[in-house]
């Protein structure tokens, strides 16, 4: 009841805003044909895909009565894909995956979601320092991780880095001078859109399974020659927080969807704990 009232108010507000916009347009472009008041825009629904804070999809209709994605009203997670390839670009050539044509393997670019990425290379790590000290201002002398308040302010989970059990640090994965890139074994930069090239440095078994579709997730056509959208490592794993103690898997904890309807004779969900099924 409350919800529907709120919804009505929102729709009414939206209508007012749209009407206002229409008035403004007619004031500023008088020679244009008189515009009809557009129907109020429905509220934008954005759902997260694998984990919260990674890739997201905005809901819209791709055909009359057919949505591109359905979101869970309980958790806000993407529950159903009408269009599995939305917002994707070709994955690019991967080692040992050269045989896949460009249009058959697509990914959603990660760099759009990483808000700070655009700033990293321009605001601070921009090589504008004097030539003698043309290294990032925070590069330590002794290869020991030093807490950097600026970084921790931007990304709280790196204060307690849960990856590598204390044996790796920032510049094992991030490029020393090109801070909006990752780094491979030879010191060459890797795009944030292709983190598998970085992660596979250590997790080779997982990379092999990912290449074959056993590890990780692909959506689209199931035939081995079909077009698939590949999910890259960081869409599911948070690389700064893969070993959190509250769980027993590499995946972050999330809110589950609602349980099924209680069976006949069950008063509450506790019933099945007290009356286990005979086997």
């Amino acid at each position: 009841m409350k919800k529907s009232a709120l919804h009505t108010i929102l729709i009414a507000l939206g209508a007012i805003v749209v009407l206002g916009g229409g008035v403004a347009v007619s004031v500023f472009s008088q020679d244009a044909a008189p515009q009809e008041a557009a129907p109020p825009e429905p509220q934008e629904v954005i759902c997260f895909e694998s984990r919260k804070g990674a890739s997201e999809i905005t809901q819209h209709e791709i055909q009359p009565g057919l949505l591109n994605v359905k979101c869970s009203p309980t958790t806000g997670a993407a529950l159903w894909y009408g269009d599995p390839y939305e917002g994707t670009v070709p994955m690019g050539k991967m080692p040992l995956l050269e045989s896949i044509p460009d249009d058959k393997a697509v990914v959603r670019p990660r760099s759009e979601k990483l808000n700070l990425l655009a700033m990293c290379g321009t605001a601070c790590h921009n090589n504008t320092l004097p030539l003698a000290s043309r290294v990032p201002p925070t590069l330590p002398k002794n290869n020991r991780p030093v807490p950097i308040p600026t970084m921790e302010g931007m990304l709280p989970e790196i204060a307690n880095l849960q990856h590598g059990r204390g044996r790796i640090w920032c510049l094992d994965c991030h490029h020393t001078t090109k801070r909006n890139m990752l780094v491979d074994h030879f010191g060459d930069p890797i795009s944030f859109d292709q983190p598998q090239l970085l992660c596979g440095k250590c997790h080779g078994d997982k990379l092999r399974d990912w290449r074959d579709g056993i590890h990780g997730k692909r959506i689209g056509e199931f035939a081995s020659t079909g077009k698939k959208r590949w999910f890259v490592c960081t869409e599911c794993h948070n690389p700064h927080d893969v070993q959190n103690g509250d769980r027993n898997r590499g995946f972050t904890q999330l809110q589950p969807e609602l349980p099924p309807q209680l069976s006949h004779g069950m008063k509450d969900a506790n019933y099945e704990k007290l009356h286990p099924i005979p086997h």
Binding site: L79, I214, K217, C236, Q261, P276
Partner: protein, 367 residues
């Protein structure tokens, strides 16, 4: 009952012209004409029925009044053959009829696919039990895709996938004497007091704030699409059967709702629509398949069919696409490069209740 007293076809109940003449004898052996007219009458009625059926169907196509067209459609539906016995034209007729009906009922263009099995495809499924976090997203994706009933009253909320939460077992010194049977100290991961492992004992209604829980492991169960399905063996009207590309499907029109298959299924995979399914128009998925997710009626059994409306067109099933951890894998078992074939070749795989010789095409694996 004495067979001599009662002829096989009771003439008294059938007021046809032959019955007006009294039989010369009650003994069917002495009255050989009794059986022949009955069969001819039956075939006559059948022919008449088909004639009126076809004329009504033709009339239904011509008529503009929706009420009579509706009656014609109902008539046609009632006299429809078992899906496996229908010719291509009859299937197409049924498809068009259903598309019209659903489009009117749900007020949007609904398509009913009748694509058959594709050559060279045998569908298979694999699920990584180590990866599953029990978030139930597959359950809800299945509901969003497959037009299940989603009401609030008892029996109106139907979900095909169940996620079972099981306690983790442990081998420990202090439980050494608590094995089963009592005192023998045989530890089987859990024991009679703290069960664990694949005994399928656990909770379906768990609702923690966040999953995965540290002390739990999760096991989703749905239709295993057996190669030797017990449900198919028991179906009295043979409306459920194994399709050539693997999935076990149901022709909902021929289901009589006897629930024999529900009793026969060792995996609790089948659900019955005890009430008229509650399917809001806005939530209805308009892309359907005849043997798959088209809206069901009251009193029919339904179950997972590996999203036939998607997989016959090459798409992954809905549950595979939403699994946030990528635990669900789907592919063509006949293709050595498919995900499932590679899992079978490389990983530790088991089938649920393999001892029942149902030969599921749904494999659980771990790495």
């Amino acid at each position: 009952m004495n067979a001599n007293e009662t002829p096989p076809a009771n003439p008294a109940k059938e007021p046809s012209s032959e019955c007006l003449a009294p039989p010369a004898s009650a003994d069917p052996a002495a009255y050989p004409a009794a059986s022949a007219p009955t069969t001819s009458r039956r075939s006559f009625l059948k022919a008449g029925g088909m004639l009126s059926l076809s004329s009504l169907m033709g009339a239904g196509a011509l008529m503009t009044q929706s009420g009579e067209a509706h009656a014609a459609a109902e008539w046609a539906e009632h006299f429809q053959k078992n899906y496996r016995l229908m010719t291509a034209e009859e299937k197409d007729e049924a498809r068009k009829r259903l598309e019209r009906r659903y489009s009117r009922e749900y007020e949007k263009p609904v398509t009913v696919d009748i694509t058959g099995p594709q050559p060279g495809v045998l569908m298979g499924y694999a699920l990584n039990v180590r990866k599953c976090i029990g978030c139930r997203r597959c359950v809800k994706a299945c509901v969003a895709e497959n037009n299940q009933s989603r009401g609030e009253r008892p029996g109106e909320r139907i979900e095909w996938i169940q996620v079972l939460r099981m306690e983790r077992g442990e081998f420990s010194q202090d439980k050494m004497d608590h094995g089963y049977p009592e005192g023998l100290g045989i530890q089987v991961g859990g024991n009679a007091y703290t069960p664990a492992g694949q005994v399928l004992e656990g909770q379906y209604h768990y609702a923690p704030e966040a999953v995965p829980e540290k002390d739990a492991t999760y096991m989703p169960i749905a239709c295993m699409q057996c190669e030797k399905p017990p449900c198919v063996k028991v179906c009295p009207v043979r409306t459920t059967y194994r399709e050539a590309d693997g999935p076990v499907v149901i022709d909902y029109n021929w289901c009589i709702g006897c629930r024999m298959c529900m009793g026969a299924c060792p995996y609790w995979a089948r659900r019955i629509n005890l009430t008229t399914p509650v399917l809001p128009k806005a939530e209805m998925n308009p892309v359907t398949h005849y043997l798959g997710n088209r809206p069901r009626m009251r009193g029919v059994v339904e179950k997972c069919h590996w999203c036939l409306q998607r997989t016959r067109q090459g798409r992954y099933p809905a549950c595979v696409e939403v699994c946030p951890v990528g635990a669900r894998k789907f592919g063509n078992l006949l293709d050595p490069n498919s995900e499932v074939s590679l899992i079978l070749a490389r990983k530790n795989v088991f089938r649920l209740k393999a001892e029942l010789n149902t030969f599921p095409k749904f494999f659980y694996f771990y790495d």
